[in-house]
Amino acid sequence: MAIKDVLKGLAGFSPSESLYRRIVTPAVEAAIEKIPKPVGSFGYDPWGYNENAVKVSLGVTKWLYDHYFRVTANGLENIPANGRLLIIGNHSGQLPMDGVLLGTALATNPHGPRAARAMIERFFPTVPYLGNLLNSIGAVIGDPLNCAKMLESEEVIIVFPEGVRGSGKLYKDRYKLQRFGNGFMHLALTHKTPIIPVGIVGCEETMPAVANIAPLAKMLGVPYVPIAPPFPLPARVHLNFGKPMHFQCNMESEDEVTALVEQVKTEIRRLIALGLEQRKEIY
């Protein structure tokens, strides 16, 4: 996502009017207008989300969504048009293209578009341009206070509970769910937030990795360095959104929470199987 976003950002800095019009199509503009998201007098929110930046980036990702990854999305009607929400999905494909495509699906949802927020690693704000750029299109550092305040202001947050365990896994392990963190369930319980499970099929094939060069990753201070295609391959992507799941629990032990997480995991597993069934060709 990183490199794409930089290019996207560069395109956004001083696009000529005609290029801007080709990227920010009337459809994109209309979708953004319908998003129920309060912003300040200059189009910003407290986390740096900026309407103008979102327009440009959505224009680019919508093109990728339609023409490069040729996404099929089912169950978009399950996503409430208002109110706090957690979108929980399986993570794959080395680069977080799955997050980008999910965000695009949500922002252009004909049943009520939403501006989804993604949680990013804490080192991003220290990178010039990239940090601000990611903030401007809705990403924020994954701090519990950020999540809490966002849910309290009725935002949508995308969480991949597998984290780098999911995105960094090798091709031979495709569609095998890795261990889920419990953080998202604590958020859902504390802030009484419904969960929409989503099964993502196709992103595994965008960057099939045969191996991970762990020593190099350690040296560079990054989670993994895969031996994989240098850019995401145009695999067809299937998104299957499940029905909202509501949870309640007194949180008397962590095991209880883990059991609830397991329910979500089972549902995602079912949605992935559904997507694999729907898929007729990989590329």
Partner: protein, 320 residues
Amino acid sequence: MAARPAQAKKTILVTGAAGSLAKRVIARLHGRYQVIAVDFRQKVETDANIPSYKVDLHKRGFEDIFRNHKIDAVIHIGRFFAHEQDRQRRYNANVLGTKKLLELCRKYFVKQVMIHSTYYVYGASPYNPALLDEDAPLKASEVTQDLVDSVELESLAQIYLWKYPELNITILRPCNVLGPGVRNSMSLLLSRGIAPVLLGFSPMMQFLHVDDMADAIIVAFEQNKPGIYNVAPEDWVAFQEAVTQSGCSKLPIPSIPPVLPKMWSNLLNWNAFFPPYLINYFKYPVIIDGRLFRDTFGWKPRRSLNDIFSYYRKSKLLAA
């Protein structure tokens, strides 16, 4: 002077009286209260019946004001900005001066104290979540030694707040206060034709008009609900956008490695408006949640971001 008739007006001591914010606070109090103006910089010219003193808070002479007037409340706004003095003198004036002030407030049975702090105390860090609550840790001293006095002044005030409830201490932590006459770093920066910005960094910021801040101090004073409050509007803007909106041309400064902008600032003596110790605040966001103050006191700023920026735009047009 010591004796005064019952039902007389309350007497309020305002520090930092020469500053733009205190001047506005005094103007709002004048008439309804007996005001005493104090400043360490100069003897402030005031209206006929406002006694005015030039005195250092941490020097002995300060106590005479408490001896000669029956002071009911103190609004402590006076502060050396970091660009005004060296670290040692600033520490003495800000921290020891405040300590002295709070001691005198106890000794002379002052019934209410307002402390004007700053959002700087939270510290600018890449790991800051947005909408910091009042109970977030104060990490400014981690960022730079030049803000240690701000954090210590706060800690002192907090100790007194919990230990001596009879003082009714209210601590206000405003975001960037801007407007006519304001001489803090951010205001000096936006007043310039050319404003330095860090390449690739444009943190989110909050701005408050100095008139709104004066109103905030007055409502908090009159409702007297002791505690710690962030003071900020429910509006946000990226720093570089604020620079553009204020009519400044941007001078981009290489931001990597981090010593580079500090070096530039030192070399070109930008201490007043782009000081080395504030570089992090031009790089990472410190967004505070002002909800508690807004809800507790029913206060809302009346001037928009555009009102604030247009003052800087207009003053540049007038100068040209």
